[in-house]
Amino acid sequence: MTHAGLPLRPSARMRRRSAVNRLMEGVGTIAALVAVSLLAIVVVSVFRRGGGEISWGFLTKAPAGYGLPGRGIASALVGTLLLVLLATAMALPVGVLAAIYMTELAPRQISGVFRVALDVLNGMPSIVLGIFVYGLIVVAHGQSGLAGAFALAIIMLPLVARSTQEVLRLVPSTLREGGLALGAERWRTVVGLILPTTFGGIITGTVLAVARAAGETAPLLFTSSIISTPGVTWNPLHALASIPFTIFQLSESPDPADHRRAWAAALVLIAFVLLASLAARALLARTRRKLAR
């Protein structure tokens, strides 16, 4: 088979082509490595520098007051908890209902208009939301946990609505048709048949939105930001402290002790956010499997 004049060796041109191929594959691999190592570097920095400062007292004691050393971040933990709970209470029902309207009831064009609106809302710079709530509420009523939660709810709304829509689309249409064929009204089909199958997806979306809202600083700057007061505030009618704002404040301080506390607070925040994203991922996989059956 092999003739002397037909050597089975790659030509110079072929060698060059495969060298270029290998080079570009290498570039892709290195790029992915860069992204993953950036994540590792940031997370490791936070854990190494913040780990030593974390203690039971740090988590459960209120700060000593601005400029004073020591004590903990209890008021910020409570504040973030309240802000996120209130924001969820505002965004979750509206987001789910809006998604039901867009996927189950609205004519296509109209639901397209709403989709564009939600996408634009999703891309809105969060500092603009802060300014907006400042003008709408804070100018007249002063800063409060409610105002901050409202700003966070605007961030959560498109996330909740979109993930609800996605899981509604996964619901097999046979379920819808079956309900209607049995003579059930539209609302019974939606409330009794479709919604229960989408719980997993809605929870996933909510967890992701909570993770996002818990880490936001910009919407709180003008709506619920206080220089750490001694004592823990549970009243959302007053301005609430929050973990992101605490980190922001401590990071701008020249004092290395403040930096250590900022790292520790960042560790708390990042651990929460990463765990929430992981949990959401697992939940999503489970919902997909269940609906695919």
Binding site: S18, N21, M24, E25, G28, T29, A31, A32, A35, V36, L38, I41, V42, V43, S45, V46, V94, V96, L97, A98, I100, Y101, M102, L105, A106, V113, F114, A117, D119, V120, L121, G123, P125, I127, L129, I131, F132, G135, L136, L157, P158, E185, W187, V191, A211, G215, T217, A218, I247, F248, S251, E252, A262, W263, L269, I270, V273, L274, S277, R281
Partner: protein
């Protein structure tokens, strides 16, 4: 379509009427929720524009071109903020886009099947890091590193361009660009991955069957097919970079003293400027000027978003139009 005469002869049972009512309530409540989203959007526009009314009346459109930002004299101009925003986000995008395309290609075409999902998840995790944490890292880890290694190196090799000039500080445009790059890479690269995965595998296999190498197939088939989508992804990344306030204000050095050619110099962006100055704002005109900055930011954000959506729509249309 069911045609029901208005004078329905049949008596509607109570159950039936309740069903009607239930449907009506469901329709009403869900429509109200959907409208609430639109209402918020409209309110945001009105509120921000109204807040900037005083500054608009005083400075007009000249505000955009003026570099004066002087609370003592109560004179304000947006140009340094606009300039800082443009330079930081465009340069971040210039670094992030090729990097993201490469990551997207790795995740969709090159990575071994076993690690593909895991690496994709890790890249997306990068997007989950709160910006204030990234900013803290920027101040205390990235900044010192940039000051000690990156800035001296850039100055030695490219200092003659005067773009990398001046004292090394670790605060300024350069670290802001790097932080923004880190923030937008996960967003752009996960969109890229989806785009590349959506390219029909018949086309890829066809190219490979013709004897192309994997890179030639990528360059000849995947990248051209995904080009509009890549543009949309980059624009969405740009929108994110333009709107980022906290992390940028932590590392950019916050100057409002005008414009320097060097990337080492402290600067400011629209978003970081608002974040920084708002609490210190004393006069009504200054607050209104900050609302004016927010209006510009809103306009950029809106334009960027709609443009990206337009590209995606046309792209989808073309793809489905072929079928």
């Amino acid at each position: 379509m069911s045609v029901v005469p208005s004078s329905h002869p049949l008596h509607l049972g109570g159950r039936r009427a309740r069903g009607r009512l239930g449907d009506l309530v469901l329709h009403g409540v869900t429509l109200a929720a959907a409208l609430a989203g639109v209402a918020v959007l409209v309110l945001i526009g009105l509120e921000v524009v109204e807040g900037s009314h005083r500054a608009f009346g005083r400075f007009g459109l000249h505000f955009l071109a003026s570099s004066a930002w002087n609370p003592v004299k109560d004179v304000y101009g947006a140009w340094p903020y606009v300039y800082g925003t443009l330079v930081s986000s465009l340069l971040a995008l210039a670094i992030a886009t090729p990097l993201s395309i490469a990551i997207g290609l790795y995740l969709s075409e090159l990575a071994p099947r076993g690690v593909r999902g895991a690496i994709g998840a890790l890249v997306e995790m990068l997007a989950a890091i709160p910006s204030v944490v990234l900013g803290l890292w920027g101040i205390l880890v990235l900044g010192p590193f940039v000051r000690a290694h990156v800035e001296p190196w850039l100055n030695h090799t490219l200092g003659f361009t005067r773009i990398f000039d001046g004292p090394y500080s670790g605060f300024g445009l350069l670290p802001a660009i790097l932080i923004l790059t880190i923030m937008i890479v996960p967003i752009v690269s996960s969109i890229c991955r989806e785009l590349f995965l959506a390219v029909p595998s018949e086309l890829e296999e066809g190219a490979l069957a013709l004897g192309t190498t994997r890179w030639e197939m990528i360059r000849g088939v995947i990248l051209p097919a995904a080009r509009p989508g890549i543009a949309a992804a980059a624009i969405l990344g740009l929108g994110r970079a333009v709107g980022e306030a906290i992390a940028v204000s932590q590392v950019i050095g916050n100057s409002n003293g005008g414009i320097a050619r060097s990337l080492f110099a402290p600067s400011n962006t629209l978003a970081s400027g608002i974040a920084n100055e708002f609490q210190g704002a004393t006069s009504k005109l200054q607050v209104s000027s900050l609302f004016y900055l927010a209006t510009i930011l809103l306009a950029i954000g809106l334009a960027v978003n709609l443009l990206a959506q337009l590209i995606v729509r046309r792209f989808e249309f073309r793809r489905t139009g072929v079928d």
